[in-house]
Symmetry: C2
């Protein structure tokens, strides 16, 4: 389950900083083990999400390894944009093994446009977050269109762990030109 | 246990902003439900703590109510400065009911100068954090001396919840002149 137990997010962010000038807010968004939703809420005002994709899959080899489940088990794959009003802030995709969800959590994940941080809070889920990777990526057509810019993207992958298992595996991405001002 | 369940930290920070100009970093430090240690690590470099006080008390009425324990139960009270090298960053006090700690957690809490966020991570503790209060306070002699400034202080109180009980109740304080630059 802890394939990347030795990953040190602080060191990795420092490595990125040898090439890129990152703001405090960017560094926190890349490394925090807290809710990104609540950080965006406090910086931007109450955020909402727009769901781009919501699918159920039988886990293939990639998903099974990612989530530490068996191939064929059911996985929710969700792609959303976290927004302030209509302004896109963060593009996020998540893989969630259905068998690890309570009925109530599953309903919130599937039915409503609720950010995952807010679902965890609502159901008082005790968890921890393990950042697996941080990187700078070149953009693509979809993200250029969403964010209205062709600049590089900051991205991170992390797992939300609950009862010693991966509850959700998340990737978050935003333009390197975002979150650069201090106030 | 959830005396302050309706407390909305985002709203409270917004209220403070009507009177004070807060930086993004300050707002995140006041509101995050993640580890403050790891935020400081990524912003400042690897932080350390200096323990000012480490005491064991039989819980009085105040502590019993704060921690949802019985009067007379054993409580660890710890006051530390979180520092980058010798630079003081955050003044933090914590109340911890001993009966809720594992042996290993207790040893780390008592023996070594390890920030609580790092202890939780080391022992892979699944938890959630509930912010109970955020405020601006006038400083006092002790904090003026520690931080070398007489400006007002930003402060917050929060509980770390584990297995539905308060594991640690923490207050963190820093000068309103700290964490104001963006890079």
């Amino acid at each position: 389950m802890n394939k990347n137990d030795n990953f040190n997010v602080i060191e990795e962010v420092k490595n990125l900083e040898t090439e890129y000038r990152l703001s405090n807010t960017q560094k926190i968004l890349l490394s925090t083990d807290g809710s990104v939703t609540s950080i965006l809420d406090v910086l931007k005002g109450n955020v909402n999400i727009k769901t781009l994709l919501q699918e159920f899959h039988k886990a293939d080899k990639f998903m099974a390894e990612l989530l530490d489940i068996d191939e064929g088990e059911e996985v929710n794959y969700r792609v959303v944009i976290i927004r302030r009003k209509d302004e896109p802030l963060i593009y996020a995709s998540s893989y969630t093994p259905i068998k690890r969800l309570t009925k109530e959590f599953k309903e919130d994940l599937i039915r409503a446009d609720i950010p995952i941080g807010r679902i965890l809070k609502k159901h008082k889920i005790e968890s921890r977050r393990e950042v697996q990777a941080v990187e700078v990526k070149t953009t693509n057509k979809e993200l250029t269109k969403i964010f209205g810019t062709e600049v590089d993207l900051l991205s991170r992958k992390y797992n939300i762990i609950h009862k010693d298992n991966i509850l959700i595996s998340i990737e978050e991405t935003f333009p390197i030109s975002s979150f650069t001002s201090d106030f």
